[in-house]
Amino acid sequence: RYFTRWYKPDVKGRPCEDFCVLQHSNRRICVITLAEAHPLLQSGKTIKNINYQISANCSRLQNKVSGKSKRTCLFIFQMQGAQFLTELAPLCRISSSDGEEYTIYSCIRGRLIEVNENILSNPALLQEKPSTEGYIAVVLPKFEESKSITQGLLTQKEYEEVLLKRRGSAS
């Protein structure tokens, strides 16, 4: 509704690992989700485990953004505490029951606001509603970069052409 869809296909060269970034009309907030073509969303895949622990020192769950104030100055401090992500920063790793492992990437530069803990308790949500309740994370790009972050991404139309090409070469 208020979101523009941007796509990043074949992230890190891995075929069909496509992501969809939903950019809010306020031009800042971005919701990272799996695009429909992503292997995890294909039938037959069951999610075994979702892990926000990226490395020994870094867990996306420990992102310190929480606070309890309406005041804007506190908001700025919160943002400083939040982890800053680059396009290829991993958000989480998901393993499926068939032994495959997938890394979900940020796809845009910005501060990590929140990761979706609902999919931890209910992994099926990621597959049932990948574009809404099954989102991966929320990222807030820097104010100065809010227009430029979409430069590396494809519009809906461009993505659909990519999908067409894939089907063409497959057959």
Binding site: R1, Y2, H24, S25, N26, R28, I29, V31, V65, S66, G67, K68, S69, K70, T72, L74, F75, Q78, I113, E114, N116, N118, L125, K129, T132, E133, Y135, V138, L140
Partner: protein, 533 residues
């Protein structure tokens, strides 16, 4: 002590000789009679000279009574640096009398006082009063009283200290007891003199609590650097300057003067202070009226109107706003410089406000007009309502500053009722939504909605939906009336905001739901008072 006595002669002598004006001399002698200060400069001069002359004739006690005209005029010679030719046995120094009887009474005529720099001289005169009143009258304010505030250059405090130290020195040298140091403050004496004159010209009384302020800033650039030595002597009193303003503020200078030791002071500053060449400048004469508050309630009938102007990157995205439509007329009538709009909560651009409307309060800054009758307010309300069909106001009235507090209270504590038009993806039947009517005090956990996350901190808020009432429309639509706690995000309750508001209509109905229209039906605040129309 209300007038000068024999005891004061040494002080008077010293100060007169070193270039201090009569009124400052009265201050240093702790003369508390306001009347005395208001006497013309020349008269005061004569009286002082009379006092000193009489000391020569060895009369016991002289009380200054200005009803007695002085009978002789004495020419005073200016001496250098005070104490040199004093009789150190303690005798009061004799004044040389001028045989020629020249009326050089105004020995300080044309001499700017070395303590007040002219404030208690020229700036007490009718000319200056006229100048101030001209400014006031041309500014076209409506007022019934005034407060006159004066900003003095900080070096005055330094000079006063220096003159005082000179007096103390003199008294010690003469073997006389030290005089009381609760001298009359310059500002106070100034106001004693100028208030009655201003009051008479303006036709209204001076009142410390008045909302109408006439302010004057005095400066004396010639002596501005006199404060600088304090920065080396007491560096911690002076904080780095903000906004290009001088670090030598009055407060900082006074603080430093309290700290600095007498010996150090005297090392750096001449005692007594030198006579300046020029008077102070009266830099700015400004008028300011205290803010006036207007409150009321507004209805919003447009789904395309923001509450405050919507400007992104300098470009206005939507025409006008609630606050502009209301304030425009008020600004014109009250002739204010600016306004501050606040309300008991706010609604989105696309949300209407129905019912009794939402309470608001507008602070009008520096209004030229402040008094309006109830009838005039009614007409003002009508004018606003006639000018736009997007908003309407009611209960428009003048209120006090506490209005703002009431707004906040209303925003945070009071319930609101809404009407929402809801769409569902899967079909619904009447039975499917009937249960909503029975749910009371539904607890929601709402994370900060995505649509405001760019400017609000991430938080989870618990909110209550007190009651709901559904109205079936068709298989994909129904209307929901809800009464909720203050601060509840209704849209997010309907569509779920990516599952970040739980529960939500979608989860309750096990469908995907979205909100098509939202209206505020009431804001349950009983303020401002309803006016009988």
């Amino acid at each position: 002590m209300s007038s000068l006595t024999e005891k004061d002669r040494p002080v008077v002598q010293l100060l007169l000789n070193t270039g201090t004006c009569p009124r400052c001399i009265l201050r240093f002698c702790c003369v508390g009679s306001q009347m005395l200060y208001r006497h013309p400069h020349e008269d005061l001069m004569k009286d002082l000279q009379e006092l000193l002359k009489n000391s020569q004739e060895r009369e016991d006690r002289v009380c200054l009574d200005v009803a007695d005209p002085p009978c002789k005029r004495i020419r005073l010679e200016h001496r250098e640096e005070g104490a040199d030719d004093l009789n150190h046995n303690g005798a009061i120094p004799q004044l040389p009398s001028a045989g020629d009887g020249n009326a050089a009474m105004e020995s300080s005529a044309g001499n700017v006082c070395n303590v007040c720099l002219g404030i208690l001289q020229e700036f007490c005169e009718a000319d200056f009063v006229k100048k101030v009143c001209q400014k006031v009258n041309s500014a076209d304010y409506q007022f019934t009283s005034f407060v006159f505030s004066v900003s003095l250059p900080p070096q005055l405090s330094v000079r006063e200290r220096a003159a005082w130290l000179g007096v103390k020195q003199q008294m010690r040298n003469l073997g006389l007891p030290l005089p009381k140091d609760d001298i009359v403050q310059l500002k106070e004496a100034y106001k004693w003199i100028i208030h009655p004159q201003l009051s008479e010209e303006l036709g209204v009384p001076a009142d410390g609590k008045s909302l109408f302020e006439v302010s004057v800033v005095f400066a004396h650039p010639e002596t501005d650097e006199e404060c600088h030595f304090l920065a080396t002597a007491c560096p911690d009193c002076f904080k780095p300057a903000k906004n290009k303003q001088s670090v030598f503020t009055r407060m900082a200078v006074i603080k430093a003067l309290e700290k600095i030791k007498e010996e150090d002071f005297l090392k750096h500053f001449p005692c007594p202070p030198s006579s300046p060449k020029n008077l102070c400048d009266a830099l700015e004469i400004q008028c300011n009226n205290g803010a006036v508050f207007v409150a009321g309630r507004y209805n919003k009938y447009s789904r395309n109107l923001p509450q405050t102007p919507w400007i992104i990157d300098g470009e206005r995205k939507l025409e006008s706003s609630v606050e502009e439509l209301i304030s425009e007329h008020l600004m014109a009538e009250f002739k204010a410089d600016s306004f501050n709009f606040s309300s008991s909560g706010r609604e989105d651009v696309d949300v209407r406000t129905l019912g009794n409307g939402r309470p608001f309060a507008i602070e009008l800054v520096n209004p030229r007009r402040t008094r309006f009758s109830a009838e005039e307010m009614r007409r003002l309300q009508q004018a606003i309502n006639d000018s736009s069909d997007k908003i309407q106001v009611r209960d428009l009235q003048l209120v006090t500053r506490e209005a703002i507090g009431r707004m906040k209270e209303g925003e945070e504590e009071k319930t609101k009722t809404y009407s929402a038009l809801i769409w569902t993806d899967k079909a619904i039947q009447r039975e499917d939504i009937a249960f909503l009517d029975d749910i009371k005090e539904l607890k929601l956990d709402q994370k900060t909605p995505l649509r405001v996350l760019h400017r609000r901190p991430l938080a989870v808020r618990c909110r209550l939906i007190h009651t709901m009432k559904s109205e079936y429309i068709d298989e994909h639509h129904f209307r929901l009336h809800l009464k909720t706690q203050a601060g509840t995000y209704i849209k997010e309750f309907v569509h779920g905001d990516f599952g970040r508001t739980k529960p939500n209509i979608g989860s309750l109905l096990n469908r995907t739901a979205d909100i098509l229209e939202l209206d505020v039906e009431s804001v349950d605040v009983d303020w401002p008072p309803t006016l009988a129309d």
